[in-house]
Symmetry: D2
């Protein structure tokens, strides 16, 4: 399985606290955390984002996306390419502030807005769908000691399947694990992962991401998004 | 519009605290609280449940259901009649512990189980779908000073539309406002309303129930749930 | 209620057959066909598309969209504006070949591809959801003597509600009436309406469009698609 | 994987045509048709239906169900047991006239009614979801030379995922492949299989059933459908 992890890799270069938590970048932490003999994992940063060609994406099974303040520097062309790749079958996992990334907004068709508050709240991520592949191996909830609070309303289409709801000390709730199908591909949004907390080292968070990678693995890919003229030979169907 | 409110009316007769809060029964409080010139509201208790004949239900637009410890005393026949009436077009609103009522379980096809904890927690009911008819007139959240905590996983099918998520002081979350369509009829489940707290006097809770009644109003009713043999005159369609 | 009908109005100007069927344009036929004392109906063509400013859209309740060969001449900016207006609460109805229009694709997040065949097949539009507001007043099916055949797979997200399935003489089927919610707004896609057949004079087709307009009427509109930082006063919630 | 195939096995015993087509019963044909080294397949008929104990069902991964005129002879107790087993995680596939079986109706919560016509129409089963596991290996459509026509409206909840739509020579359409989740278990309804046509020997039909068995395989099973009182240790979450 070919996995790619995109991380804008900006906070890690510019903020001491973040650099200390993620010396190898968020992408590096996730890469190490989900390592598996079956996975060949590549990483991509904003600096190297031109790697994300059609050919590269067509050869990627699942793409993981972390972005925050640099969404605007991802070109519309690349965002389109990523969304098309999903529609052609590639799986994709959007993490945390990637709710506002161009490819996620393109795939949802909605603003993907939310409310937020940064006070280092304790978060509980409750499993709402215990038999979903993405929730396997997780107990009733995952506890994070500190996380940025995200709050409803979350401006997304009604998820096909809701796997997690997060609750924060301040009382906010958030649909934290949401599954969609877009074209031939699968999409998972997963809320945890503010850059100032060491969340991508948490065993259960990594398990969810790994489960999601396996769940999002393509089972059918198409080459074309066109609308062909198709004649039906009448002798065949009548 | 013809509304019927079913309440088992047991706690009000047997527990002092509840009697004090609801001297006219939970049904009485809701009846008063949603009163409207357009509504003709009847009430039914376990004692008078035989009122719920097919004829009665066929003439009811929306039925509201509150039950708790007396679910077992509602006969299978009546539960079937209620579920059939919904499938024929009647709207229905299940409140609080009615998650375990026979008609709700019949309409869902699932166990409708949950976890619970009775410590008088503060609950916040967050609106997840601000443009849903049921959420109109409600702010970002409804705050209840004291409520029984209900927790996920809630054993229901994925809701067609999720309107509220509740969060409790202890950290639990719960899909607290869930919309479904069953046959020709609409179903709304709404979690607030433990009998030991004066929840059905809260302005916003009553507004939600009233909104739900209007939302669930039948727009088309059918007489039959049968599967008829229907011949297509070939000359008509070819 | 303020309705706007957008039609690219190209075939009517360039093809004799179409001009003959729709001397006042497809927009003119629909405008006349759904006329109602409650409706104030404006029409917009590709020539006058710059009318579709934010202000115009914010003052429109429901927009109806017909386009075919001129999708590419609708600017990305206008498409974005229309999609944003829906997310802010405006209702929208996409007709026939508008499945490939920019705003529809933006709102769906998928390619919206399909197969097609133009042999003037008889189509039957079957009601799959008889109690849906959009199907009111329609019998078991609508019969069109001649229509372009559209075929599955239709590259859309699973509809929130499916109201019609079309079947063509050649045997194809197509999800012909699909409901979605996007942000605060409602979206309805309705397949009938190839320009070379007088479909927008059919009583039942007009009834469906009118029903859809009423269904899509905004009940709540928002000004902002932003993600605000919202502090929760602890004293308020604890 | 442990598979069980229930077939009422009545037509095969009482009607010569059916006996000739299915000398080993419909269950026998399906058993042979989906055989696989990974599968241990047991068959159950109305005569031996008491086999379907809780223990048996807890040890079954996926149950396939075919019934028609003998739905009424399946006891409510067994129907309840089957529905509970699904809610606890067992997969289930309902074939053809099993749309009116007790367990299917219990799991759906709706009448599951439809229209029907028995004229040996040609049916085309169109794939609406090409990347769904159940559609793998199937082309654009499956053609059946003769099948009983089923027609919409089909009285089911909106499917979680729609995989096939059938179209008949007479023009009817039918949601022929429908996926649901109920509790921990997966449900697939698949329309083809009238007893007077040799449908369960068709390679593609068997492929769909086998795909569905693999898709419905439990990934998590629970023992209990109860609603437990769960205390949250405050020190753990705060």
């Amino acid at each position: 399985m070919k996995i790619a992890i995109y991380n804008e890799n900006f906070h890690e270069q510019t903020e001491k606290t973040v650099k200390k938590i993620y010396p190898d970048g968020i992408h590096g932490a996730i890469k190490a955390g989900i390592a598996d003999d079956e996975f060949e994992i590549d990483t991509v940063t904003l600096e190297s984002i031109d790697k994300l060609t059609d050919e590269y994406l067509n050869n990627t099974d699942v793409l993981i996306w972390w972005g925050h303040v640099k969404h605007g520097e991802v070109s519309d062309e690349i965002a389109e390419r990523v969304a098309n790749a999903v529609n052609k079958g590639m799986g994709i996992i959007f993490l945390h502030s990637a709710h506002f990334s161009k490819p996620f907004k393109k795939l949802m068709g909605t603003p993907c807005n939310l409310t937020w508050r940064e006070n280092g709240d304790r978060e509980l991520l409750w499993v709402t769908n215990p038999s979903h592949p993405i929730a396997q191996g997780i107990g009733r909830f995952i506890k994070l000691d500190h996380e940025e609070a995200y709050g409803e309303p979350f401006g997304i289409p009604e998820p096909d399947e809701l796997v997690f709801i997060g609750s924060f000390q301040g009382g906010e709730v958030f649909r934290a694990g949401c599954c969609y199908k877009r074209g031939m591909g699968k999409v998972f949004y997963f809320q945890p992962g503010h850059e100032t907390y060491p969340i991508y080292y948490e065993k259960d968070i990594l398990k969810v991401i790994k489960n999601a990678v396996l769940w999002a693995k393509p089972i059918y890919r198409t080459n074309s998004l066109d609308a062909p003229n198709v004649q039906i030979p009448l002798e065949e169907i009548l």
